[in-house]
């Protein structure tokens, strides 16, 4: 650059701009800003929609020009093709009207009010109910009459009814399951004895005797359970809340069928929050109901986390060892280069192909062989495969295979970033190659390997297509890891949040009602992946402080 001020003035602005390089700053910064805007926009949309799902919205009583009255939540507002405004109202009461939602043009609506007694009822079956409480009944008796009184009495009695219902439900789900397993174990023992010694063997006769004993004991216990559930259900019998709908019909809802009810138009902020938290609690901690479009997603959360962690446990050693050989032992040559290219290409194979491979090889070949060898009695007795069908283990293995290239590539990068001077220092101390790798190279490369694992986990947790083939089901309430022996059940089918998004969003009979759930599930999945990543990043940060930071 010349120091002559006169010459500088003569330079063209074009040259000055290029020389300063500011155009490039703007270009690069602009690209980053665009990418950020898209990411933040997408995440922001998911979060805002997902978080709002459980917030109680006001109920509007709408009087139509034709004299009809409906009670519902406004869920959408847009313009009809002719340009006039219209609203989508969640009218609920499917059993009366045959629909969950209805569009109303602004011109049809005569008046809109928000009556204080308007009540939203979430039921076990049949979707929501909107109406005004009129009487609380027990047996033939009226416990409370009048809107206010009935609502107050409902608040008093509903928790007890609900508790009894839960107890009965638990007995049916857990205790009866234990009995069934006992019975099945005894039956399998008979089959096992028959397979071992033939149909006439004394071992089989003994097993048959034992089975009879077990069956008798189970039947006795079953009867005791029947007694208890019958008692609990009898306690709930006759309790009902009578509603009047906006159209004037009278409907009696059994109290045991009501999951929760609230009157949104007169909730204070604190009560609103209470409803909100309680609905979130149900969402996170309960089983789904109504074809997954209501209730909770707990089995799916559990399945997602279990599968992701097992996948990470499987892919980490496998990928790291493969990368170690490739980087530390294999001689540089065309063969190594070809292997490396092949691994990179594996990352581009469509994931459904992995799913098909997992089903064909893991489930049918590997699982089939395991069944033949170890679970033959179950195969003979039930005609059902144990490992020879989709399950948690096979799904995790399939995803481990899918994410293997990510881990191998990241590990190779991390290994090549270990300074050669460290390796030489170790060799000079008389260490063998393996000692050098184990004590120097691997610890030093660990943070980089963790990065690969983080990427693999994020990729694996969001996969859907291969999982549909190798073990994810629409509904699987038996958790793959639970309190019954042997606690981990790798052969069980499971639920997965990413699949649930597809199922609830596109396979639901009541898709309009399921839509907010889709956002909430997506939000939850993103949050879980973020949480897993934050945990892994935290571990990586600790490792990095310990092994990599070099002060100079």
């Amino acid at each position: 650059m010349s120091s002559d001020p006169f010459r500088r003035g003569r330079r063209s602005t074009h040259a000055a701009l290029a020389a300063h390089g500011e155009a490039w700053v703007w270009l690069t910064g602009g690209c980053l800003a665009l990418a950020l805007a898209m990411i933040i926009g997408l995440l922001g949309y998911i979060v805002s929609e997902g978080v709002a799902t459980f917030w109680p919205k006001p109920l509007e009583s709408i009087e139509l020009a034709d004299g009809r009255r409906v009670l519902g939540e406004e869920t959408e507002r847009d313009k009809a093709p002719d340009g006039s405004g219209r609203r989508l109202i969640r009218t609920a009461n499917f059993e009366l009207t045959g629909k969950h939602f209805e569009w109303f043009a602004d011109g049809e609506v005569k008046a809109t009010t928000r009556p204080a007694e308007a009540t939203v009822v979430e039921r076990l079956e049949g979707g929501r109910f909107h109406g005004f409480p009129s009487r609380l009944l027990h047996g033939g008796e009226v416990i409370a009459a009048g809107s206010k009184e009935a609502w107050r009495a409902f608040g008093e009695h509903h928790p007890f009814v609900r508790r009894r219902w839960r107890q009965a439900w638990r007995i049916d789900k857990v205790d009866r399951g234990v009995l069934q397993r006992k019975l099945r174990a005894a039956r399998l023992a008979v089959v096992r004895a028959e397979l071992a010694g033939g149909p006439e063997s004394p071992a089989r006769a003994a097993a048959v005797e034992a089975e009879k004993g077990v069956a008798a004991a189970v039947e006795a216990e079953e009867r005791a359970l029947d007694g208890r559930t019958a008692e609990l259900r009898a306690g709930n019998e006759g309790w009902g809340l009578e509603f009047t709908t906006a159209a004037g019909e009278t409907v009696l809802l059994p109290l045991a069928e009501i999951v929760r009810a609230w009157q949104p138009n007169r909730l204070s902020l604190r009560e609103r929050l209470g409803v909100y938290v309680s609905r979130w609690g149900e969402f996170l901690g309960d089983d789904p109901r109504e074809a997954n479009s209501a209730g909770g997603v707990f089995p799916a959360i559990w399945g997602t986390i279990a599968m992701t962690l097992i996948m990470a446990l499987l892919v980490a050693p496998f990928g790291v060892l493969a990368a170690l050989y490739l980087r530390e032992y294999a001689s540089r040559g065309p063969l190594t280069a070809a292997v490396r290219i092949a691994i990179n290409n594996l990352a581009g194979v469509p994931s459904i192909v992995y799913g098909a491979f997992g089903l064909g090889f893991f489930c049918y070949v590997l699982g089939g062989s395991i069944d033949e060898l170890l679970f033959r009695p179950a195969l003979v007795a039930d005609g059902q495969p144990t490992f020879g069908t989709g399950g948690l283990l096979w799904a995790s293995l399939t995803l481990a295979l899918l994410t293997l290239p990510v881990v191998i590539v990241a590990t190779e990068e991390a290994l090549s970033a270990v300074p050669n001077s460290m390796r030489e220092g170790s060799y000079a101390c008389g260490a063998s190659k393996w000692q050098t790798i184990r004590r120097i190279v691997l610890p030093r490369a660990l943070p980089g390997i963790m990065t690969g694992l983080i990427l693999a986990m994020a990729r694996g947790a969001g996969e859907v297509a291969p999982l549909m083939l190798v073990g994810v089901k629409k509904l699987a309430l038996d958790l793959p890891i639970d309190g019954t022996f042997p606690f981990v059940h790798p052969e069980r089918e499971f639920m997965h949040l990413a699949y649930l998004i597809y199922d609830v969003g596109f396979q639901s009979p009541n898709s309009q009602a399921a839509k907010p759930m889709v956002f909430t599930i997506t939000f939850l999945l993103v949050a879980i992946i973020a949480l897993l990543n934050v945990a892994a990043i935290w571990i990586r940060g600790r490792l990095r402080r310990r092994y990599v930071s070099q002060q100079f």
Binding site: M422, E424, Y427, A428, C429, G430, A431
Partner: protein
């Protein structure tokens, strides 16, 4: 400098001072010249004998028929301009060059009589008999304590008392004990550059090596750290047989007993340090050590 210069320097008749032929020019032209090795080098028993040693990187020859004994218990410095093969020679001694795929060698080296390049020689056992310190400090990603006892650990030593004793002795030997004795469990990567290099020396002497190889140990250090490491080399004198590569003439003249001048893969002159620096046989050596060339 431990040996005073003798009154009458025996000069070999093959190369009288001021000979007409310029050996460096001959070498640069690809020719071979006989090395000028002073008699007094051979008077001390050798810990390491290098015998007609050649080394090629692929087709390029890096070392040309080097023959030199390394005296026992003394500090021997290798000097010469960049690329003259000093470091290659050093790395050949503990066979670190084996890790470079294209390297070929011929000739022999013997450590206390054992042939280093013999087929039956176990490289790992061989390296355990030597210690090496590199240009840049290369502490391992572990604690200070584990760094020092690394050589013992890989040998399977796990008795705490033995390890503790070796750790303290080595760190004291490397003049680092007082600085780190209260934080032996902390990461070695948190030390300063000079401390790291002294830690590497401690690591190298932990296994009581027969030869200590130092490859420009001060080139990555600041002057104060360099001074400390040089003082340390002075203290190691007499305790260990040290072979040190250096670019720094003052360092060579201050801290070594013998000095070898190398040029383009050849050994040019080798003798007691005082002689090499004050009255070398060859004027080429004189030109180099006085800084007129190189």
């Amino acid at each position: 400098m431990s040996t005073p210069p003798p009154p009458a320097e025996p000069r070999t008749p093959t190369s009288p001072a001021g000979a007409a032929v310029d050996r460096l020019a001959v070498v640069a032209a690809g020719g071979q010249v006989p090395a000028e090795i002073h008699e007094r080098v051979r008077q001390t028993p050798a810990v390491l004998e290098i015998d007609h040693f050649n080394l090629w990187y692929g087709t390029k020859q890096a070392l040309h028929s080097i023959t030199m004994p390394i005296p026992h218990g003394k500090v021997t410095a290798l000097v010469g301009p960049s690329g003259c093969g000093k470091s290659t020679l050093l790395r050949s001694v503990n066979r670190l060059n084996d890790l470079v795929p294209s390297v070929r060698i011929s000739g022999e080296m013997r450590l206390n009589g054992d042939p280093i390049y013999d087929k039956r020689m176990d490289v790992i056992e061989l390296r355990k008999r030597m210690g090496m310190v590199f240009q840049r400090p290369n502490p391992f990603p572990m604690s200070i304590y584990e760094n020092v006892v690394y050589a013992l650990r890989i040998d399977g030593e796990s008795r705490r008392a033995v390890l503790d004793e070796v750790c303290e002795r080595s760190l004291r030997g490397a003049a680092l004990w007082d600085e780190v004795k209260d934080r032996l469990g902390e990461s070695a990567l948190g030390l300063s550059g000079g401390q790291q290099q002294r830690l590497c020396i401690a690591r190298a002497i932990a296994a009581e090596p027969e030869v200590l190889l130092l490859d420009e140990p001060c080139s990555a250090l600041d002057p104060i750290a360099t001074g400390k490491v040089e003082d340390l080399i002075q203290e190691l004198r007499g305790l260990y047989s040290v072979l040190i590569v250096t670019h720094n003439m003052q360092q060579a003249s201050r801290s070594s007993d013998y000095t070898a001048f190398m040029y383009l893969g050849r050994l040019i002159e080798y003798g007691p340090t005082t002689d090499i620096f004050t009255k070398p046989v060859l004027r080429e050596t004189e030109a180099y050590v006085t800084g007129r060339f190189g």
